[in-house]
């Protein structure tokens, strides 16, 4: 076997894990509200910077900082729904108006992060999860990356099972299908959507923290992360929880194997090329809605 292939596989899996976390949150929110929440990207950034601030600047225990950051980003998402998007939905704003509003919120929050922390690239920690390195069939994987992979698997499983077996999951599906009918049959759609924003934003927060530990953080990282999550969602099937995960790993593999023989700068071109191919030939994605 070519010696580079195991490493490419490892890199693909790690990229897929991070993209899947963004796609999970994005799909959960999009599937429920049917609006393209650009603000989802900056929520990841906020999580990364919260850990950076608490752990690196204030010396807090890293795991405690991660937990606080994830919950905090959940609240950021929740508040954005409660005080911006819900108000607009109540005024029957169109999807385009909602999109522009979420872009505005994204830009404002990104600017605030840059003002507080500067625009410089930062690393979260130099001694967390980097002490151990494993060799799997010739591919090198760090302890941090293993934690990211485990987090992605765990979050996907918990979310998937919750959607299938809990009343909450069924209510989310009902709202996703027909919010008006869901309201008439007694489902408190606004409350459920607020919870969806909280959960989806927490998952995006995990993705931001994962990126922070894997490479580093910068105020503009949210847009790139969001775009990869969105591409994964479209490839897998927008609004489908498992579809987004499948699309994320597919994207991770295509990106990393795509640059096997060429420069890494081609990564984004390959990702968007695949997106365009899917939009032309399979716009519903791999696991698009049935019927």
């Amino acid at each position: 076997m070519n010696s580079i292939i195991p490493q490419l596989i490892v890199n693909s899996i790690i990229a897929g894990s991070i993209y899947s976390l963004v796609a999970l949150g994005f799909n959960l929110i999009f599937g429920t509200t049917k609006f393209f929440n650009i603000n989802h990207g900056v929520v990841s950034t906020i999580a990364g910077y919260t850990v950076f601030s608490l752990a690196k600047n204030h010396g807090m225990d890293i795991w405690l900082a991660i937990i606080i950051a994830v919950i905090f980003t959940g609240f950021v998402g929740y508040l954005s729904e409660k005080f911006v998007f819900l108000k607009m939905r109540e005024k029957r704003a169109s999807g385009m108006v909602m999109l522009v509003a979420s872009l505005g919120l994204f830009t404002a929050l990104q600017a605030i992060i840059a003002i507080i922390f500067t625009s410089q690239f930062q690393t979260i920690s130099t001694n967390f999860g980097e002490s151990k390195v494993y060799n799997i069939f010739g591919g090198i994987i760090t302890e941090t990356q293993l934690i990211i992979l485990a987090a992605a698997i765990l979050i996907t499983a918990v979310l998937g099972l919750s959607m299938k077996y809990t009343k909450f999951g069924k209510a989310v599906k009902a709202i996703s299908d027909d919010v008006e009918v869901a309201k008439i049959v007694g489902i408190n759609a606004n409350k459920i959507i607020a919870k969806v924003f909280f959960i989806g934003s927490m998952i995006a927060g995990v993705a931001g923290i994962a990126i922070g530990f894997d490479t580093g953080i910068e105020p503009t990282m949210g847009m790139n992360l969001l775009l990869k999550g969105v591409i994964a969602s479209i490839i897998g099937g927008v609004g489908n929880v498992y579809g987004g995960v499948l699309g994320a790993f597919f994207l991770g593999f295509v990106e990393n194997f795509g640059i096997w023989k060429i420069s890494g700068e081609w990564k984004d071109a390959i990702a968007f090329g695949v997106l365009i191919l899917f939009l032309i030939f399979k716009p519903g994605g791999i696991m698009g809605k049935k019927g």
């Binding site: 009343k167 008006e180 009918v181 309201k183 008439i184 049959v185 007694g186």
Partner: protein, 244 residues
């Protein structure tokens, strides 16, 4: 006894009066037919009562003296009102079973997390599906059902809600003869159970057979109100609509 009273309901679309100063009463244990030519305001009225479209003005009175001007879709569950739609609306990406389970299960915080009393609800759901003859489809996605089966599923959801006031918007449209018979049986059972049933329907045979009272609308206004055998013979009603 009147369980649903509407006072001065108004709705206009771009200057056209779809519902014009309507005040009506609907009694419990009775089936009221809501008829009129296309565009007379029947579906608009149902959409106003259930908060699907916002009204310009109007007050709703529900049993026990409850009165409100605030009519929103999300309040229907508390007001014990439910409905079906002219163009069938079920949760298409959910299984037939889940379409009913989602309206039956607990709504409190703990119940929202895990489906307590799942077996009890599942038994009730299956009993309703068996009554509608679609229990063998319980694990299929609703989107894969035929139009008629989806119509029955939507009616099943209305039964599962156990509301006091049920509004059926053309429940027979697109149904086969056997299905029509089944739906009529269900609507009669609801009357026996003391529910207030409002039925929008074009088929006068069904109206005569089922309804205790008929309300005839024309251009968003009340044209006639009374027993079917009397109202459907009125000259102005025949002129405005029937011509059968």
């Amino acid at each position: 006894m009147s369980t649903l009273k509407l006072h001065n309901f108004n709705k206009h679309f771009y200057g056209v009066k779809a519902v014009n100063g309507l005040s009506l009463e609907f009694e419990s244990g009775k089936i009221t037919g809501l008829v009129g030519p296309n565009g007379s305001g029947k579906s608009t009225l149902i959409n106003l009562i259930t908060g699907v479209i916002p009204k310009d003005s109007g007050t709703i009175f529900i049993a026990d003296g409850f009165k409100t001007d605030k009519i929103r879709a999300q309040d229907m569950y508390d007001y014990k009102i439910t409905r079906t739609f002219q163009n069938v609306r079920v949760f298409e990406q959910m299984s037939v079973l889940d379409n009913l389970m989602v309206v039956l299960t607990h709504r409190n915080a703990l119940g929202a997390l895990f489906e307590r009393k799942k077996n009890l609800y599942e038994d009730r759901t299956i009993a309703i599906l068996e009554k509608l003859d679609i229990s063998e489809k319980k694990h299929e996605l609703a989107v894969n059902l035929s139009y008629g089966q989806r119509k029955l599923l939507e009616i099943g959801r209305a039964i599962a809600m156990d509301s006091d006031i049920i509004l059926f918007d053309e429940p027979y449209a697109g149904l086969f003869k056997e299905m029509i018979k089944k739906v009529s049986e269900i609507i009669k059972e609801l009357r026996e159970a003391g529910k207030t049933v409002i039925l929008v329907e074009h088929n006068m045979e069904i109206i005569r057979d089922l309804c205790d009272t008929v309300v005839v609308l024309d251009a968003g206004e009340l044209l006639a109100h009374g027993k079917p055998e009397t109202v459907l013979k009125q000259r102005d009603v025949v002129d405005a609509y029937l011509g059968e």
